[in-house]
Every structure is written in C-alpha cells, then in structure tokens.
C-alpha cells in the first residue's frame, strides 16, 4: 500500500484529469446527442441523412479506433490535435452517437396527440420542440443518458493510450516505477467504481427532479403551507 500513499498526489492529479475528461466529454456528448438526434428526426433529407451516417459510423466502429484516428491519422491532414482535445472529441462524438439514438427514440415515442395539440394552438415546429416535446421527453431520456455517462466515464480510461495523464495513465506509471501492481490497480478500480456510483446517484436525483408531476407537488406544498399560515 505504501506506493499508493507515496504516489497519492500523482493519483489525485490523474483523478482530476479523469473527471475533467468526463465532464468535457459529457458536455460534448449532450450537444452532439441533441444535434444529431433532432436532425435524424427532421423532415428534410439534407439534415436526416448526414445525421444518420454520422450515428451509424460512430456507433459502428470502435471508440479506440476513432481516438487513434484523431490522434495519429489526422496529423497527416495537417491537423495536430492536443492529446486531450483528441481524447475529448473522440469520447464526445462516440458516446454522443449513442445518446443521439436515445434522444431520437424518446422524442419519436412521444404521444402523437401532443403534437396535434400544439398544431391546434398554432405553435410552429421550433416552438413545439423547445417548449413541449423536448421538456416532456427529458424524463424518458434520463435513465439511458445515465448509462451513457457511466460508459463515458469508464471509457475515459482509454485516453491513457493517447498519452493523456488520467487515472489509468498515472496507475501505469506508478506500476512501472514501483512494481506494486496489485495495490495500485485495486485502488484505481475502487476509485472508478466510486465515480460510477456517484454518476448513478446523480442520475436518479435528476430523475426525481424532472419527474412530470414533481413541479405540481412543490407548488401544492407551497399552497398548503400558505393555507396553514392563514389558518394559524
């Protein structure tokens, strides 16, 4: 265990990098998911087809291949990305392609009557999407989004293979200097597990937060409180 204690600052740095990559990759993933997912539902072929190709290509090939391609092959086109950029880009695009299908599925499975009610109220497609369809679909998206984010977190370990000094990279470094393989790997396994668990907790908190009738419940609670004050 002494290697773990001795190299704790390095592990801490690695942990911070892992969290940073997760957060940036997650943000990119969400942007990609909504862009590609909504484009996939568009009436216009010019949006639908590129989105479809993007989703199939990024879901159909390995994340590691994509990451290596951005890191090793892109420089031949004269584009040299910082390892961290290549890593975040690959993670965000790859997981975003999966999450795009979540967005598409959740929106496509909305009740048809909701769209009809919007038309009857004169709402144009953009307003419909922004005010009604997307907010309603969020609760259905949250659980699968949670899975995508846990996947993304675990896949951040691959960034160590393109020289980003994350938790896995630090562990490998400590292993090769100290030879204390068991302690160091058990430690980072537990750390990854704790992070996954936190993400799961966050997802279920968001699920409760965005549940459809949650808003009404809080409003009513306020109302009841006022009535009690009035009665007293």
């Amino acid at each position: 265990m002494d290697a773990v204690i001795q190299y704790a600052p390095l592990l801490w740095q690695g942990l911070l990098t892992t969290i940073l990559v997760t957060v940036m990759g997650g943000a990119l993933c969400l942007v990609v998911a909504f862009t590609a997912g909504l484009a996939r539902l568009s009436r216009h072929r010019i949006l639908r087809w590129p989105a479809g190709i993007f989703i199939e290509v990024f879901r159909g090939t390995s994340l590691l291949v994509q990451m290596f391609w951005l890191f090793f092959a892109l420089p031949f086109f004269g584009i040299q990305l910082h390892p961290l950029t290549a890593a975040v880009l690959a993670l965000g695009l790859n997981e975003g392609a999966y999450a795009a299908e979540v967005v598409r599925g959740a929106i496509a499975s909305r009740a048809k009557g909701q769209t009809e009610a919007c038309i009857a109220l004169g709402m144009d497609p953009a307003l419909r999407l922004r005010r009604i369809i997307i907010p309603q679909s969020i609760p259905a998206m949250l659980p699968p989004f949670g899975n995508v984010m846990v996947d993304l977190l675990k896949n951040t370990s691959l960034v160590s293979l393109v020289t980003v000094a994350d938790l896995t990279f630090s562990a490998q470094m400590i292993r090769s200097t100290t030879g204390q393989t068991t302690a160091i790997f058990i430690t980072i396994l537990v750390m990854y597990f704790a992070l996954s668990y936190l993400l799961t907790l966050l997802t279920s908190w968001l699920e409760r937060r965005f549940a459809l009738d949650r808003k009404a419940l809080t409003l009513q609670r306020k109302e009841n409180a006022l009535m009690k004050v009035g009665a007293a």
Binding site: A111, G113, Q114, E116, A117, I119, A120, L121, G122, M123, D124, L127, R131, I132, P135, Q136, L212, D213, K215, A216, L219, Q220, E223
Partner: protein
C-alpha cells in the same frame, strides 16, 4: 328509393343567409384505396352550432382533422373565414404555407384524449400559446387564464398538473386552453368519449354554456344524441364518407327523412 347521396349533392340545412365561415368544396380524402370522404360539399354559417353524427368510420372526425390541418385532403378546397385553407388537386404534394398557418389560427380544437401537456400545470397549459404564439404579455395571459379556469369551474385547480386531475377536469382545462386563443371556430372531436360516465355531465355543461353564451362557431362530432339535439342549430348525419342528411335537430331526431339516419338513430338510442 335510394336517398340522394350522389357525390355532387350540396348539403344544405338551415338556410345560410350570410357568407359561410367554413366551406368544403368537393373535398375527398383517400387512405390508399379507401375513400374516407367522398367529394364533400359542406358549409357552416358564422356562429352556427353544428353537430355531426353517424357511425364510426363514417369520416366525421376527418372533417375536423382537415379543418385543423392535422390531415391533408386528397383533393378539394376548404375555405375558412374567406381565406383558403386548402386547395389541393388530386395527386398534388401539399406543403405547409404561411397562408395555411395564418388561416388555421382562426380555429381551435378540443380532442377526444384531451392532449394536455403533462409537464405543465393547468395554468401553464392555458398561457403557453397566448404568450409564445400570440405574443401576449405574461400578466395579461395569466389573468385571462384565471378567468377561463373560473369559467370552466376550475379556478382552484390552476396549479394542478394533468396527472392530478380527473378526465373531466382535464377536458375542461383543454376547453379553456382552446378558448384562450380566441378562435372563431371551435372544433370538438368526441369530447366526452374518453370519459367515465359520471364525468361526462360536467364537460357537457361547459360546452352547453359556451353554445348558449358565445357567438363562436362550433362544430362537434359526438355520440351524445340528446346533447346534440339540445345545443345544435343543425345536425348533420354522416355515413360512408358522405353527408346523408342535414337539418334542424327537431327534424333529424323526430322525423328523419333518410333510411340510414333512421337505422342509425334506432341503433344508438335503443339503450
């Protein structure tokens, strides 16, 4: 003797004295080889309350859905308040035009399944479109929504969400929501069909109230025959994609001229 259901027949009932607010001209709707509407000609006068009755699958709901632009006619012309809503030649691909969007503003609709927005409270359901479509300011929209909720007897339920309300309450909110857009024409698509029997009365009484107190044009597809008789200026009997008979409720219900109307009324009024 076959009644005159030849495609060209114009259905007239109560004499239309002013320019009609709704006019269907030779409108057909095909689903594959199945013709849901057959060359329909149909007019509604401003302020008129019209009930459409007939067996299911007779094309009644399609009329409302074409008016609300939820469905595209296969052929024909529909004019609302002097503006063309649809003008379709057979086989023509129809695009949503600005004209269509503006014309349909005159129309509101109450759905069989209410279609309230489940993530919004009753109040938010009502103010949503006035604010974001009509550009009304929030305070004014809220004030008007509160009035409308009082009108439908739900003034105390403004902060409830649809899952917290009964079907009857939801449908009354849906009526208030449609009214908030101040439509000239309000369509009701079997507004009580999805309700438990004990909740039908509260919704009908709201609609009855509207029929008696507003000069809004109302077009209702319904299976509530007694109610149709009570509130309508005119009742139209539909069967097999065409209007079979049309006239004042007293005539349609007491003295129907067409065999098919008699058969239908006998079947639905039996129980």
């Amino acid at each position: 003797m076959r009644p005159s259901t030849e495609p060209q027949a114009v259905v007239t009932g109560a004499p239309v004295t002013t320019e009609p607010i709704i006019r269907f001209q030779n409108v057909s709707k095909n689903w594959g080889t199945n013709q849901v509407l057959k060359n329909l000609n149909f007019e509604v006068a401003p302020g008129e309350k019209v009930s459409i009755i007939g067996p299911s699958g007779s094309g009644k709901t399609t009329i409302l859905r074409i008016l609300m632009t939820l469905e595209t006619p296969s052929e024909g012309k529909v004019i609302v308040g002097g503006d063309t809503l649809w003008d379709v030649a057979l086989g023509q691909k129809v695009r949503e035009t600005k004209q269509l969007r503006e014309t349909r503003r005159k129309i509101g609709m109450v759905f069989q399944q209410f279609n309230l927005f489940p993530h919004m409270t009753a109040l938010e359901n009502i103010i949503e479109a006035p604010i974001h479509v009509l550009g009304m300011n929030k305070a004014e929209a809220r004030e008007r929504a509160a009035e409308l909720l009082n009108l439908v007897g739900l003034g105390k339920h403004m902060n409830h969400t649809p899952p917290q309300m009964s079907g009857g309450q939801q449908q009354r909110v849906a009526i208030a929501r449609a009214l908030a857009m101040r439509p000239k024409v309000l369509l009701f698509d079997e507004p009580t069909s999805a309700l438990d029997p004990e909740l039908i009365g509260e919704v009908l009484s709201v609609i009855r109230n509207l029929a008696h107190t507003t000069d809004m044009t109302m077009l209702m597809v319904t299976h509530e025959m007694r109610f149709a008789e009570e509130i309508s200026d005119r009742v139209v009997m539909f069967d097999n994609g065409a209007a079979v008979e049309s006239g004042p409720p007293a005539q349609i219900f007491k003295d129907p001229q067409q065999e098919r109307t008699r058969n239908f009324l006998r079947a639905v009024l039996q129980h």
